[in-house]
């Protein structure tokens, strides 16, 4: 049962990242290769504020998220909007470029060392059914749950959330409804970065932060998104949890070093055999 | 508010009108360049891309169409639709070469009907009138054009056609015709015949006369109005364009409102082809905007007039043209000087003693041209003493020289010696051999 608990913990992180992927994918059709970097930056921000500027966590947390949001918006403005030939290859390459830049900057600013972040809550292991779960994990799971519900509320109940969903379904139809699609695209990068940063912050006491964390987290988030079916909100959450659990199950059976390989094997199998995701349905081709 | 047939169209704002004209011009161009070989080739020849005609001003880049073009494409070459869509064919007389043929689709006839109705209503006609049409029916557009317009208004139409003036007068008396439709010279002829028969204007019931198809002046209008007891308005049209219905006067009688939403009018310098600004005198050029069967682009009417847009008290916003003061092809060259017969008429109008009946003869005397004008003068003056006659003649000669730049020989003749015309008057006899 233990692997299940740790799986859910990492799974909720993947889920947050996957949702970030999905939000951007839905509005732009882009897989943002820099999504993982926002997770890393979330951790970096919170580290800087807690330990370099001595800002209390309650304040640092929202500021870090806001910082990431702004960065996401800037990312879109600088890299995405001005791509002249918006071919898929160019968009892939530009997000890769963005991710290298962010990673490189992180390395320059925070160095190559792993940075330690202390738990935000008193660290304690709690015994639950057939295993233990740490308070840090509970924070991760709790915040992920809260975020999922907030996002659900945003998308289902608010005017702007509905505008986002309209853009997902049909950008032209959304624009003739008076929605500024460009702004939605910009904000979707902001929100994706925001979600990534949340993941980065909450996971930082568990995994600590290094400048190069982004690639792995990003790829796993992507795997989670693909598992759940690209573009699907709940699919991303399920995919994340599923990936987290199967990963820790895998790690309990095979040498733990192969844990990461497992995630990629899953990507490959899903891409080869069910590119529409485990839960997605094949889109009917329009005549 | 004045009575109008199509109030919305006739009072549209300039801005709106321009939009209508542009749209219709462009679609006409699209159609002719596709369906009329003459225009297709002509545009190609002149290297004109019709999609470059983006505003009404750009029309100046388009080539003219002349009567000769129509003759060259005799009979159906200018048609934009196949013959099976044509429901009516009219034609000009063809005295000077091949006649010109004009076709109408069902929709053209509908349009025409409405346009004529517009000018008839403007000239005072209503559904209560009995319209006496003394235009000749037949290939000539005048008779049928006004006929259907009048019917469309709901008036009772008497298609008398031309000729047998005495019978016409009888019909007018018995059938109580309230509107007379004919040429101005025929109206005069009727008046004269009535006088000869001893029928006074009170014996007939005419209220309005819609006169057209030849140039006439205020003097003739005054004479017709007083002798027939009518309000006479002018209307203008030419068969190549559509027939009557191109323009017509309202009861304020100061210029003919052009049905601009269907015809785009320009004034050009007849020699250079350059477009003249509003208000200047020159040749009238018309472009049909809605005709289907035979659209014409920049058709040179050869009528000399002036366009002006004023705030007509009748409420119509369409631009007005002056009564055509001559035709570019009527122009006579007398010893190198351009003379329009209309100018002669203008001079005569200044003199009360002159009647509207005159004749111009041009002869060769040695190497020189000689212009002789015979003028009927009023009976009492003719039998008056020579001195008065001579004084008048001298005054006229002087005016003529001022206006024409040459000195024609003016000869007074006895009343009723000059031929009267039932159709278009032909007042120039050129006997020179070229």
């Amino acid at each position: 049962m233990q692997f299940f608990y740790s799986g859910i913990t990492s799974g909720s992180i993947y889920a947050l990242v996957a949702i970030g992927f999905n939000i951007i994918y839905n509005t732009t059709g882009i897989i943002n290769f820099a999504q993982g970097e926002f997770v890393m930056l979330g951790g970096m921000f919170i580290y800087s504020m807690l330990y370099m500027m001595n800002i209390p966590f309650v304040l640092a947390f929202p500021v870090a998220l806001f910082g990431a949001f702004v960065l996401g918006v800037i990312f879109e403005r600088v890299f995405i909007r001005y791509v002249k030939v918006k071919s898929e290859l160019n968009l892939i390459t530009i997000t890769i470029a963005g991710s290298i830049i962010l990673r490189g900057l992180a390395m320059v600013i925070w160095g190559r060392d792993t940075l330690l972040v202390e738990s935000f809550v008193p660290s304690k292991a709690i015994n639950v059914y057939k295993g233990t779960i740490t308070t840090d994990s509970l924070v991760v799971i709790g915040i992920s749950l809260v975020i999922s519900f907030l996002l659900t509320f945003f998308f289902k109940k608010t005017k702007y959330g509905k505008a986002f969903r309209a853009c997902y379904e049909d950008k032209i139809a959304a624009s003739v409804c008076g929605i500024n699609v460009k702004a939605v695209v910009m904000f979707s990068f902001g929100i994706a970065a925001f979600l990534g940063a949340i993941a980065g912050v909450v996971v930082s006491p568990i995994t600590y932060v290094t400048y190069s964390d982004g690639i792995m987290t990003g790829l796993k988030g992507f795997s989670a998104a693909v598992m759940g079916g690209l573009g699907s909100f709940w699919g991303g959450i399920f995919g994340g949890i599923l990936l987290g659990v199967s990963e820790s199950f895998f790690a309990s059976v095979f040498p733990s070093g192969y844990k990461d390989a497992m995630a990629f094997l899953i990507i490959l199998f899903i891409l080869f055999f069910r590119p529409q995701g485990l839960f997605g349905r094949k889109k009917a081709t329009r005549v | 508010m004045e009575n109008m047939w199509q109030h919305e169209e006739e009072t549209m704002s300039l801005d709106e009108l321009r939009q209508f004209q542009l749209e219709r011009l462009q679609s006409t161009l699209n159609r002719v360049s596709e369906n009329v070989d003459f225009y297709k080739n002509k545009f190609k020849q002149c290297n004109i891309d019709i999609t470059k005609i983006k505003s009404l001003d750009d029309i100046k880049y388009l080539p003219f169409t002349t009567k000769q073009d129509l003759r060259d494409n005799y009979p159906y070459g200018m048609f934009a639709v196949p013959l099976k869509d044509i429901v009516r064919i009219h034609s000009s007389s063809g005295t000077t070469g091949k006649p010109t043929v004009v076709g109408y689709t069902r929709r053209d006839l509908e349009t025409w009907k409405n346009l004529v109705a517009r000018i008839m209503v403007a000239g005072g006609v209503s559904a209560n009138d009995i319209v006496h049409i003394a235009f000749s029916y037949g290939l000539f557009t005048g008779g049928f054009g006004l006929h259907y317009g009048a019917e469309h208004i709901g008036a009772s139409v008497i298609p008398v056609s031309s000729g047998n003036t005495k019978r016409q007068i009888m019909i007018m008396q018995d059938y109580r015709s309230s509107v007379l439709v004919c040429t101005p010279s025929y109206a005069l002829h009727i008046a004269e015949t009535m006088q000869n028969e001893g029928i006074s204007r009170n014996d007939i019931y005419l209220k309005y006369a819609l006169l057209g198809s030849e140039p006439w002046g205020e003097k003739i209008r005054a004479e017709i109005e007083s002798r027939l007891g009518v309000t006479a308005t002018d209307n203008y049209g030419l068969s190549e364009i559509i027939g009557p219905g191109v323009s017509g006067e309202c009861l304020y009688k100061n210029g003919l409102h052009i049905n601009e939403d269907h015809f785009y009018a320009e004034i050009i310098n007849p020699d250079t082809g350059e477009v003249l600004p509003e208000g200047e005198k020159g040749e009238l050029v018309l472009t049909t905007l809605t005709k289907e069967a035979m659209p014409l682009i920049r058709y040179r009417t050869r009528d000399i007039t002036r366009l002006f847009r004023d705030k007509c008290p009748c409420g119509r916003t369409f631009i007005k043209m002056e009564k055509p003061s001559g035709r570019t092809d009527d122009m006579l060259i007398i010893n190198g000087v351009n003379v329009f017969p209309s100018q002669v008429e203008e001079v005569f109008k200044e003199f009360d003693q002159a009647t509207p009946h005159y004749m111009i003869f041009i002869k060769k005397k040695g190497h020189l041209d000689l212009m002789e004008i015979q003028l009927e003068i009023s009976e009492n003056l003719f039998f008056d003493e020579m001195k008065k006659q001579r004084a008048l003649l001298e005054k006229m000669n002087e005016r003529m020289f001022n206006v024409l730049g040459i000195k024609p020989k003016i000869k007074f003749v006895e009343p009723k010696t000059i031929e009267r015309f039932e159709g278009k008057a032909k007042r120039v006899i050129d006997e020179r051999q070229f």
Partner: protein, 250 residues
């Protein structure tokens, strides 16, 4: 020559084609017309192997096309063009012509790579020359697609399809996007091909183009064949008129 027998195509429950049956006669121009969404492109895609899951049968010279892949169908002798041009912008028009050759003839890789079969390629060049002359675009041969008029590119596409010497040529809206002069040129070209004995099946919207060219017209609406015959017959068929202009009782 090409025979469709009760061809039906289903897209997730939507019937895109329903029991379409007709022949494309040899050495004639057949036009496929119909309003938007009538299923013309679906039909083309079924013939050329892009939609493998149709029911019914498509035969070409007694060869059954069901289940064949696009490149296999091409090798049987059916060549098609697409609505968009699919030219390579970095190559000249002449070089783009090669694309019509290399799929058909499968030049020997090793020899061609090291240029050991000059004679073969010379022959190919000669055929390309002929085709460029035939389609009237020889003078543009060294230009790149971005710098020539659209009509020239359309002609190039025809030339490229022709050089593989197909038994039947399927044209997908050949006149789309052309101005009237270019249309005339293209019509002339297609007419000439026809006199040379080529069989052509084309989807086209422009009726004047169809009327001047086609020997037979097949009209589809809502995935069903509603009329076939000569252009004049089609044009006066009440079903066709209704399909295009709509029903006044609506």
């Amino acid at each position: 020559m090409l025979r469709l027998n009760n061809v039906s195509v289903n897209f997730g429950g939507v019937k895109a084609l329903t029991d379409v049956t007709f022949d494309v006669p040899a050495h004639k121009i057949t036009a496929l017309i119909g309003p938007n969404g009538a299923g013309k492109t679906t039909l083309f895609n079924s013939i050329t192997g892009f939609i493998p899951h149709f029911t019914g049968e498509i035969h070409f010279h007694n060869v059954k096309l069901n289940g064949k892949l696009p490149h296999e169908i091409f090798h049987i002798g059916i060549s098609r063009t697409f609505q968009n041009l699919n030219l390579i912008n970095e190559l000249t028009l002449r070089e783009n012509m090669f694309l019509g050759v290399i799929g058909k003839e499968k030049p020997p890789i090793f020899k061609s790579f090291f240029r050991l079969n000059k004679g073969y390629w010379k022959n190919v060049e000669q055929r390309i020359d002929d085709m460029l002359y035939l389609t009237g675009i020889k003078k543009w041969e060294n230009s790149k697609p971005g710098s020539v008029p659209y009509g020239v590119l359309k002609n190039l596409e025809m030339a490229r399809a022709l050089i593989s010497n197909p038994k039947i040529l399927l044209l997908d809206e050949p006149a789309a996007g052309l101005n009237s002069k270019e249309k005339e040129n293209l019509a002339e070209l297609i007419g000439m091909l026809n006199t040379k004995g080529h069989t052509i099946l084309m989807v086209e919207h422009d009726m004047s183009f169809v009327s001047t060219l086609s020997d037979y017209v097949v009209c589809l609406n809502f995935g069903k064949l509603i009329a076939r015959g000569t252009f004049d017959e089609i044009r006066n068929s009440p079903d066709v008129i209704k399909a295009y202009l709509g029903d006044e009782d609506a």
